[in-house]
């Protein structure tokens, strides 16, 4: 069985080699009917890709039909590249996969002509070629999804970074003003960047201001508590400020124990406390009054 497969594929390679130009021309025609996107891609670029694909396919198919094999590495890499570029250009995954699938008709025509007198060999080769092209087509879809996921992950990371501004209020005092809904992932990033900032700025007090947070659920409240505990383990105090009445009610209803955590109504109260704890005090300099006297 194995030997016949190799023979058939060797002949697939030779078929491609013999009829390269006609397959290429027909394939390009096929694509212009089905999925050609001249708005997104130049004709010459597509021609180059098709030619490269055929050459790589001819070379790899001599070794078998397992697309995960090392012989298919250059072909896989090329498809990966194509998918990545097409994601950026705005192709749909269907259009990207059709790049591979649309070669079927021209290639099958060539196979049929080559095996004119032997229907069994022809059927067998068509089947193995179909399988091969299907896996390659699916590979482009996988690659497409992978590059999409990369884009999404990068955007998520960017967003997370944007949403966690740790600011220094005073020597040794940090503040983290949180705005918007807190989910578990975001709270975790917030927690990490706050703790990192505590070390970097050598701050003994950190204020987490949740004035801009509309609701707090159990998970988020637990994360906040964990942040406070982790900061304490590192040797810093946390104050939570800006607790809205609804959030205070939720916290009590949920049975979350905030007894060990210092909370203040406003950021300014928290800042006052932080200054006091750090040994700073305020004196108002009323120069105007002095002059009047």
């Amino acid at each position: 069985m194995a030997t016949t497969t190799v023979n058939q594929n060797a002949s697939l390679a030779s078929i491609i080699e013999r009829r390269r130009e006609s397959i290429l021309a027909e394939w390009l025609r096929e694509m212009s009917g089905a999925t050609r996107r001249s708005d997104l891609m130049k004709e010459s670029e597509l021609q180059g890709q098709c030619g490269q694909f055929l050459d790589l396919l001819a070379r790899a198919s001599g070794t078998g039909t397992n697309v995960q094999a090392a012989a298919y590495e250059p072909l896989r890499e090329m498809l990966l590249d194509i998918s990545r570029v097409r994601v950026q250009k705005g192709f749909t995954p269907r259009e990207t996969a059709m790049f591979v699938f649309s070669i079927k008709r021209p290639l099958f025509t060539a196979i049929r002509e080559a095996h004119g007198k032997d229907p069994v060999a022809m059927a067998e080769q068509m089947w193995s070629t179909t399988e091969l092209l299907d896996s390659l087509g699916l590979y482009t879809t996988e690659a497409y999804l992978k590059s999409r996921e990369e884009v999404i992950r990068r955007q998520q990371e960017d967003m997370l970074e944007l949403s966690t501004p740790v600011v220094k209020l005073w020597e040794g005092i940090l503040a983290l003003p949180l705005i918007g809904t807190l989910d578990s992932a975001r709270t975790q990033v917030v927690m990490e960047s706050l703790l990192e900032a505590i070390v970097q700025t050598n701050s003994r007090v950190a204020i987490i201001d949740i004035t801009g947070v509309p609701t707090v659920d159990t998970v988020v409240a637990q994360h906040l508590l964990k942040t406070v505990t982790a900061a304490r383990l590192m040797g810093a105090d946390c104050i939570i400020s800006g607790v809205r009445p609804q959030i205070a009610q939720t916290i009590v209803h949920l049975g979350i124990n905030l007894l060990d955590v210092t909370t203040k109504a406003t950021l300014s109260d928290a800042f006052g406390l932080a200054m006091h704890r750090s040994g700073f005090s305020f004196i108002r300099s009323d120069k105007k009054e002095k002059r009047d006297n």
């Binding site: 070390v199 050598n202 701050s203 003994r204 982790a230 383990l233 810093a236």
Partner: protein, 130 residues
Amino acid sequence: MERIPILRMGEYLLVTIQVDMHDRLAMTLQDDLTNRISETGAKGVLIDISSLEIVDSFIGRMLGNIASMSRVLDADTVVVGMRPAVAITLVELGMSLTGVRTALNVDAGMDLLRNSLDARKDALYGSRIQ
């Protein structure tokens, strides 16, 4: 046998943990430290763990034990320099080391020990002479 060195600085003992401790080494440190506190009459112990890449429940328990034991021997303990990733993990593990005092770094830790010793002296002898 491998041991973690304990330095003496006046009324304080200083320990810097710089190796990934196996459990026996942690237990030895606990023994050595309690012995040294009672020998020297030290009033404070500072443990610098800024080099530690993880603190698991065993090392966490050792730190808690040292703090409790030194309290019995009339010495304060402060653990300094825990890394953020280590702190997050320790909290997730379920250990909050209640009863262990902490500080960001050796300087802050020494301040804490001095202030606490001053406060104790004040309580004993009244206002100290400046």
